[in-house]
């Protein structure tokens, strides 16, 4: 089979996966909430995005982000990318909201601006 490229990083079928973690884990409230927001944005009434668009984002964000982030985190980044690519939200609006939330919670930390 000539010119058969290796699988892309997200296409894991057949690779060793290691032991299965059998411990129950809880889903953080913000993960549930962001998933609900995504469902509402893509429902029949709104149709702002499709699930496959966020999947495509996951598959193109690069393996460092894909494997470096937790499941809910990388899905959140994918959703943000789709929304900003479509012009439905700007990065500035997202950054500003994050600052507001930090202020509300009394957290000093400033967001690190991406280069």
């Amino acid at each position: 089979m000539p010119n058969r490229p290796p699988p892309r990083y997200h296409d894991l079928g057949g690779q060793d996966a290691g032991p299965i973690e059998m411990e129950e884990h809880t889903i953080k409230p913000w993960v549930r909430r962001s998933d609900a927001v995504k469902s509402l944005l893509s429902d029949k009434k709104r149709r702002f995005l499709t699930t496959d668009e966020t999947r495509h984002e996951l598959e193109t964000m690069g393996e460092n982000l894909y494997f470096g982030l937790e499941y809910g985190e990388r899905r959140m980044i994918a959703l943000m990318n789709v929304l900003t690519n479509k012009g439905l939200l700007s990065q500035e609006e997202i950054d500003q909201k994050i600052e507001e939330i930090y202020a509300r919670l009394g957290i000093e930390k400033k967001i690190e601006k991406s280069a």
Binding site: M1, P5, P7, G13, G14, D52, E53, R55, H56, K86
Partner: protein, 94 residues
């Protein structure tokens, strides 16, 4: 829309590696299988991934592969099989 394949047809999965959102696993591309079920017509995820909802629908099939075909170093029983749901445009007649 007529289906290109029927239950029992022998097929080969296209050995293609395009960019974009592809739901046909890498490991099964180029492998031979048999249609076991015609599942109906669905929006093409490759188009949905670009935000296109009105592209022509594609027929989805359930295709059965011998595990030995999917994984050449498979050391389980010969009769073991693997079923995958694959869209029509990824299948070619054997």
């Amino acid at each position: 829309m007529t289906n290109q394949f029927s239950v029992g047809d022998e097929i080969i999965v296209r050995e293609a590696f395009p960019q974009g959102h592809i739901r046909t696993p890498h490991y099964i591309r180029g492998k031979e299988g048999v249609i076991t079920e015609v599942l109906g017509e669905y929006n093409n995820p490759e188009e949905l991934a670009k935000g296109i909802r009105d592209a022509p629908k594609k027929t989805l099939y359930r295709v059965r592969f011998a595990q030995k075909t999917a994984w050449p170093d498979y050391d389980g029983p010969e009769k073991d099989t693997l079923d995958l749901d694959i869209y029509e445009h990824w299948l070619e007649a054997k």
